[in-house]
């Protein structure tokens, strides 16, 4: 467009910082998600270590009670929304188009917008540390305690607005992957030939687009209460003290499956590769995932057994909770049967996958215990619950995502990660994990409540707490080994080649790392295990027809997703400014709103492929 000022000319140079900042390539966006998630993983881990130092012995004074509250709130919020979800998104982004034979996601610029909204929303929320008002009310922010009567500082506002910005990005990503998987599959890639990781991505994306609107409503109403004086959570106006809990957990329980299903998909792809056997019960695994997602919307009130919902509601949710254990068990048995009789190779990804199965199963067992209401009444708000959800979220999600990192690192970088360092990493992390979280079961049964910042020496918890704290530092050491292994392997790792593990699925059919256009020629797929079938039948892949790279039109980079995300985040920030200074807030809101609006219009009227590129290619033909 002629009105383009020079600085906003589309950056078509494929390398350099601007190529990353304005990228719409799903692989680069995946890497950005992964690096950001790892940075937040370290931040959330430091928050955990601060808590563990404070709790190592009775009556310690490492941090104040107020700081401790900020630590557990931001630890939970960070690990869920800024680590596990974006780490999952990193693999969705990098892998799904490769696994289904597409050149990119359905909406490449929307994909970039998702990433920037996630990053800016996370930064907005963490910015509260610099203003001294970090969120301190627990990651589920129970209203009415988070209303302005009881939480007067702006900490809750930071939490709401940061989450709101991230939520918009997450929703956009959910739409993108639903459409990509439904509509962008290569010919012959029927739904029932898709790798399980892609299946779980599809299911998670559906969960996102149906669950996130509910948290959007819940936090919007809370924001209105706090900023505009509405009465949604105001008990003195007759509000129901349980409204927030219901809205939050209607979102919150599907969120649990948003966090774990990607890792279930990862493990379902890794086990067959290292057992040299097809996945046992492919169809059951797919259906079990779908059933988990469906039932996941009907079990939310098991987070609320102690609030007094009455016998009928409590019983119904208890039964539904027991029911959801069934498809989960089905998956575990399928994984075991996949390995049964296979020739198992204990490579690092396989070790983490096995770690996932064993630890997730322990977490699942302590989880289903809570479906038994009298047991839940004893465990509610004790360290037993902390142990339970760390077994599923760390032992489950994080072990799965770590397995994925070792498994797909060669595809992403073209280099193998070190096996020997990887095994050391696994050993330290597995020991550290269990040393940290297993004793928490005992602490919970002994009555230690969650979220207390210290305890008296005569409670009998001191020795166990010390063990937990030592375990936490062992985990930290294992993460240092992990980081070292990644940095080292990215520089000097063995070249990987196309298919270093001898895997079966489509992403291993291309060179590592893949070309920016993924597939020179879009493949037609005729099997669930195309690479194994080619190998077994000694089919030589046919020579690729010569393809002129410049004739493949990939979407051009764009500034508008970045600027739109910036505008939206600044609009959210302007509400915080508005509370302190009305005129400044309104000015900032108007300016950033204008930025967002201009970005939307320029985005809409910007061709996906830059005119220069399209013309160049046309001249070439």
């Amino acid at each position: 467009m002629a009105t383009n000022i020079a600085i906003l000319r589309r950056p078509l140079d494929p390398t350099g910082a601007w190529a990353w900042i304005t990228t719409v390539d799903h692989k680069k966006i995946g890497v950005l998600y992964g690096l950001s998630a790892f940075a937040f993983f370290i931040l959330g881990g430091v928050e955990a270590l601060v808590m563990r130092l404070q709790l190592a012995q009775a009556d310690l004074n490492v941090v104040s009670a107020a700081t401790f509250n900020q630590m557990f709130t931001m630890h939970g919020t960070t690990m869920i929304f800024m680590v596990v979800m974006p780490a999952g998104a990193a693999f969705f982004n990098f892998l799904v188009p490769l696994q289904i034979g597409a050149r990119d996601v359905a909406f490449p610029r929307l994909n970039a917008l998702s990433y920037w909204l996630f990053l800016f929303g996370s930064i907005l929320m963490n910015f509260s540390f610099f203003t001294g008002s970090a969120p301190d009310m627990g990651w589920f922010a129970y209203a009415p305690l988070t209303g302005s009567t009881f939480s007067a500082s702006s900490s809750v506002d930071y939490w709401i607005l940061g989450l709101q910005v991230m939520g918009v990005g997450t929703l956009a990503a959910g739409f993108n992957f639903v459409i990509t998987i439904i509509n962008m599959r290569a010919p012959g890639m029927t739904l029932m030939r898709m790798p399980i990781f892609t299946w779980m991505t599809l299911i998670v994306s559906f969960l996102i687009i149906f669950a996130f609107p509910v948290i959007t409503v819940a936090i919007t109403l809370l924001l209105f209460d706090r900023m505009f004086g509405t009465n949604f959570y105001d008990i003195t106006a007759g509000a129901d003290p349980l409204l927030w809990q219901h809205l939050f957990w209607v979102f919150g329980h599907p969120e649990v499956y948003i966090l774990i299903l990607p890792s279930m998909g990862i493990v379902s792809d890794i086990l067959p590769t290292f057992s040299r056997k097809p996945l046992f019960g492919y169809v059951t695994i797919v259906l079990a995932g779908a059933v988990i997602a469906f039932l996941g919307f009907g079990v939310w009130a098991h987070h609320m057994f102690t609030v007094g919902m009455g016998r009928w509601a409590t019983s119904a949710f208890a039964v539904a909770t027991m029911a959801i254990a069934v498809p989960t068990g089905v998956k575990v048995f399928n994984w075991l049967a996949t390995m049964y009789g296979g020739s198992i190779q204990f490579k690092t990804p396989m070790l983490f996958a096995l770690g996932f199965i064993s630890l997730f199963m322990l977490g699942g067992l302590s989880g289903v215990m809570h479906a038994v209401v009298p047991v839940d009444l004893q465990h509610q708000d004790t360290y037993f619950v902390v142990a339970h959800f760390h077994y599923v979220l760390f032992g489950g999600s994080i072990f799965g995502l770590t397995a994925a990192t070792y498994y797909w690192f060669p595809k992403i970088t073209g280099r193998m990660m070190s096996e020997s360092i990887g095994k050391v990493h696994f050993a330290i992390m597995f020991v550290g994990f269990n040393l940290t979280f297993f004793p928490m079961h005992f602490l919970g049964v002994l009555g230690m409540p969650r979220r207390i910042y210290t305890y008296a020496p005569d409670m009998g918890w001191s020795g166990t707490n010390m063990a937990v704290t030592i375990g936490a530092f062992v985990i930290a050491a294992s993460i240092a080994v992990f980081l070292y292994n990644m940095v080292r392997s990215a520089r000097v790792g063995q070249p990987a080649g196309a298919n270093p593990w001898g895997a079966a699925t489509l992403e291993w059919s291309m060179e590592s790392p893949p070309h920016h256009y993924n597939f020179a020629v879009v493949p037609t797929v005729r099997s669930q295990h195309p690479l194994w079938d080619e190998e077994a039948n000694a089919v030589e892949p046919p020579p690729l027809p010569y393809v002129d790279e410049s004739s493949i039109h990939m979407p051009s980079p764009s500034y508008w997703p970045l600027l739109l995300a910036l505008g939206v985040t600044l609009v959210a920030g302007s509400l915080l400014v508005w509370q302190a200074h009305a005129i400044a807030g309104l000015t900032m809101g108007a300016a950033s709103g204008a930025l967002a609006l201009i970005s939307v219009y320029r985005w809409v009227f910007e061709p996906p492929v830059a005119a220069e590129v399209a013309e160049g290619a046309a001249a070439h033909h």
Partner: protein, 218 residues
């Protein structure tokens, strides 16, 4: 037998034959339904919980019936606008697109009148009571959806004068239409469940003073 056949013909078709952007709009509408759901549910849960008035006795059903009719007619206009562009009749498309947007603006006008009257005649604002909070937030978000639709429609109309909306890309209009009809349907639910059900028997509830409603009717 080859398990991965690489052929150039296989490009450019979607797996379902449906357009990506159209599917995106359907997915968005499914998600948006989950946005209005909790808002409507919250209103219904709080229907009898306000500890002071005013409540549904402020509704002016005849006036809202007219505004509902206006919004329904805008859907008809939207259908005609889409038919126009699909047949390449740009005049028809432009007339009915403008008509859709104008009817939408009339609806917004009714809503502004309604909100103003509630505030001035009955003293009902979002801060007054639970009814005010839930009703005005729900209908306010619906009004915001209509406003976005109106802006979208005017944008399409202006883009058509710049040659950017033509018969070939009638899909752009179809997608805007999907959104417009959805927002309409949400209003039908709101009018039925919030206005008609809410107004039914409200005098009795007020007279019985079930919740010691004070200051009713301003």
């Amino acid at each position: 037998m080859q398990y991965i056949v690489r052929s150039p013909e296989a490009e450019h078709a979607t797996s379902t034959g449906l357009n990506n952007r159209k599917l995106l709009m359907w997915a968005f509408l499914g998600s948006d339904a989950m946005f209005f759901g909790p808002l409507i549910a919250t209103h219904l849960i709080y229907r009898t919980e306000s500890i002071q008035g005013p409540i549904e006795n402020v509704f002016n059903i005849p006036v809202t019936t007219i505004s509902t009719f206006v919004l329904l007619m805008s859907s008809l206009a939207m259908v005609l606008a889409l038919a126009g562009i699909q047949q390449g009749k740009m005049g028809m498309f432009r007339f009915w697109t403008a008509m859709t947007a104008l009817l939408g603006m009339v609806f917004i006008g009714f809503q502004m009148f309604e909100f103003t009257e509630f505030a001035h005649k009955y003293g009902l604002t979002p801060r007054t009571n639970l009814f005010g909070s839930t009703f005005l937030t729900l209908t306010g978000f619906h009004g915001a959806h209509v406003t976005v639709g109106v802006i979208w429609l005017w944008s399409l109309l202006f883009a058509s004068f710049r040659g950017k909306v033509k018969q070939e890309n009638s899909l752009d209009v179809e997608i805007a239409g999907l959104y417009w009809h959805f927002v309409d349907i949400v209003w039908i639910v709101i009018f039925g469940v919030i206005y008609l059900v809410g107004a039914y028997g409200v005098e009795e509830r007020v007279l019985n003073g079930a919740h010691a409603l004070a200051g009713l009717g301003g």
